[in-house]
């Protein structure tokens, strides 16, 4: 019981302080909002040409979640690299806390920041493009958003643990950013892709999260998609926890924890 309480305290305190680190930097904060808006604007300008209000709603929701994917894919792996640069990665590792408990709050804090960009993108679509996204089931919509963000945090966690072992592992996040836009069905329906691509897409939690968000907004039942999204997110968390210990052992063997 004490161990569980201690783990929860590490997670909550880590999340809060890591959120503070991200939030106190005005430059980072502005970038986290402006960057997704730039891509959302591009998408909305394209979809506006169709003249279909439904298409614009589809794009507005997709662009909102797209920003959270970008924020997580690039920031999560970069966050651990920053820890290496500032010399705190070795201190996290040399503490008796399990590596997973030290890293997960970092990506959870980034997911929280991603929520800002999601809301900002929806407001941007409403104010600048006049897109009113109808939300038929607000409760289900909120649940879908939260589960999607939580699963994104665990996906980011899986990405970030590779940085513990590989000094250039942060590039993996950048590599996944644009393919993720397509694979997760943010802007293009998945039916347009070959079956094997759809299989890959179905292994990514945001694909299910995106479906759940759209379903909740339109009034359809999102719960199956929410459940699969949550389960996949949990699966990534378990895989990340397992890999974090294995990769940490490898990092100790190869001496890659330090900057040089």
């Amino acid at each position: 019981m004490t161990g569980l309480r201690s783990a929860v305290r590490v997670l909550v305190m880590g999340w809060w302080l890591q959120l503070k680190i991200v939030a106190v930097n005005a430059f980072d904060g502005v970038l986290n909002i402006v960057y997704p808006l730039f891509f959302a604007t591009t998408a909305l300008l394209m979809y506006r040409q169709s003249g279909s209000p439904q298409a614009l709603v589809y794009a507005a929701l997709g662009a909102a979640v797209m920003g959270t994917w970008s924020a997580m894919a690039t920031s999560a792996s970069g966050a651990l690299q920053s820890q290496r640069w500032q010399g705190t990665l070795e201190l996290l590792v040399s503490s008796p806390t399990r590596m997973a408990l030290a890293i997960l709050p970092i990506t959870a804090a980034l997911a929280t920041v991603a929520l800002y960009s999601l809301v900002a993108t929806l407001v941007w679509g409403r104010v600048v493009f006049g897109i009113e996204v109808p939300i038929v089931s607000p409760l289900a919509f909120g649940a879908a958003l939260l589960v999607t963000l939580a699963s994104l945090a665990t996906f980011g966690f899986l990405l970030s643990v590779t940085v513990v072992r590989y000094r250039t592992g942060w590039a993996l996040g950048n590599l996944l950013e644009y393919p993720g836009w397509l694979l997760c069905g943010f802007l293009v329906p998945m039916d347009l892709f070959p079956t094997w691509v759809q299989w890959i897409a179905r292994a990514l939690p945001p694909t299910w999260g995106m479906d759940a968000i759209r379903a909740a907004a339109s009034g359809a039942s999102p719960w199956r998609d929410i459940a699969v999204c949550g389960a996949l997110g949990l699966g990534y968390a378990v895989l990340g926890t397992y890999l974090s210990e294995r990769l940490l052992d490898s990092a100790r063997r190869h001496g890659t924890l330090a900057l040089t």
């Binding site: 201690s6 305290r9 880590g14 302080l17 500032q86 010399g87 590792v93 040399s94 008796p96 100790r252």
Partner: protein, 321 residues
């Protein structure tokens, strides 16, 4: 039982080079290091850059796996019982890094207190005590990015002591600190010593090691070349005497001639602002000042002083022999 036992510790690193044809190169950074640290002792590990001090420490604090050999802390193996070892040690390194700059000193300490499982009800009092110890009381609410290097280093020490470790590793803690900051840091370490803390300290500053350490080991090119109390190490050269001669150019070319003088054990050049000081270690009872000066014939000379050897002389002789 010793608090730390290291037996024949070795660590190699493999590096690769080349674009198309990859060449692998193996470097043995630590070549069979053996030593013990007793409870309540301040143990100094001295050596030049690249001698293997930090690699040795990183194996002991579980950040690196030894290639071979073994080490245990309070009976826990650093490879097999890494988590148990981590609970019992603190690690502080020198320089600017290792703190969350955008957080306050207090938040930094609170975070690491959680990571080291300091009970919530004890955290406030413990952090308060440590801030007092390192002289940062009243500054805990400020962000670390505004701290001087000396203040950061003292905060590092507070962080390393949060969980009241049995053994504290201080890896060049005075690196880059101004003399006043370094003095304050030494006072902090000295007060830890009087509290009975066991410390492994690495430093380049001999007076620091002389002042703080109960025992010292000198490491050179990955091997321990000497071990003993500061007095014992000094004795290695007190069997003789030291001659210091200020010169003004060209002394490097005459080193061979100086070393060829009978009863000269070693000769090194210490480059200072304008002069180069030749430091010559001599055998006991020998008076070869005239012969050494003759070997320097033709070079402008300044002050010539014969003196007792210091720990620094012992160190220089050990690492340069």
């Amino acid at each position: 039982m010793s608090i730390l036992e290291a037996r024949d510790l070795r660590r190699s690193f493999t590096s690769t080079s080349g674009m198309l044809r990859r060449h692998r190169k193996e470097t043995e950074a630590v070549k069979g290091v053996t030593f013990d640290i007793e409870r309540g002792e301040v143990f100094g590990l001295l050596g030049p850059n690249g001698a293997g001090k930090t690699t040795t420490i990183k194996m002991l604090i579980t950040l690196l796996l030894p290639t071979s050999g073994s080490a245990s802390i309070l009976g826990y193996d650093v490879v097999d019982d890494a988590r148990e070892v981590r609970r019992r040690i603190g690690y502080v390194f020198g320089g600017d890094r290792g703190l969350y700059e955008r957080l306050s000193a207090l938040d930094n300490l609170r975070y690491f207190a959680e990571l080291y499982a300091v009970p919530a009800r004890e955290q406030k009092a413990r952090i308060g005590e440590l801030l007092e110890l390192v002289g940062l009381s009243g500054r805990e609410g400020e962000r670390v990015e505004g701290f001087s290097r000396g203040m950061r280093q003292r905060l590092h020490i507070a962080r390393g002591l949060l969980h009241d470790p049995d053994l504290l590793f201080l890896d060049e803690p005075s690196l880059g600190i101004d003399p006043v900051g370094a003095r304050e840091l030494r006072q902090t370490i000295a007060s830890l010593r009087t509290q009975g803390k066991t410390i492994l300290l690495t430093t380049h500053y001999m007076f620091e090691a002389d002042e703080l350490c109960d025992r010292i080991a000198v490491i050179r090119q990955g091997e321990l070349v000497a071990e003993g109390t500061p007095a014992q190490l000094k004795q290695r050269v007190t069997a003789g005497s030291v001659l210091e001669i200020d010169t003004f150019g060209g002394v490097q070319d005459r080193l061979e001639r100086v070393l060829a003088v009978p009863h000269v054990r070693s000769a090194t050049v210490d480059v200072r602002a304008q002069a180069e000081t030749l430091v010559v270690a001599l055998d006991s009872g020998s008076d070869v000042t005239a012969a050494v000066l003759a070997a320097l014939d033709g070079i402008p000379l300044g002050r010539v002083v014969a003196r007792e050897p210091t720990l620094e002389d012992a160190y220089v002789e050990l690492v340069s022999s």
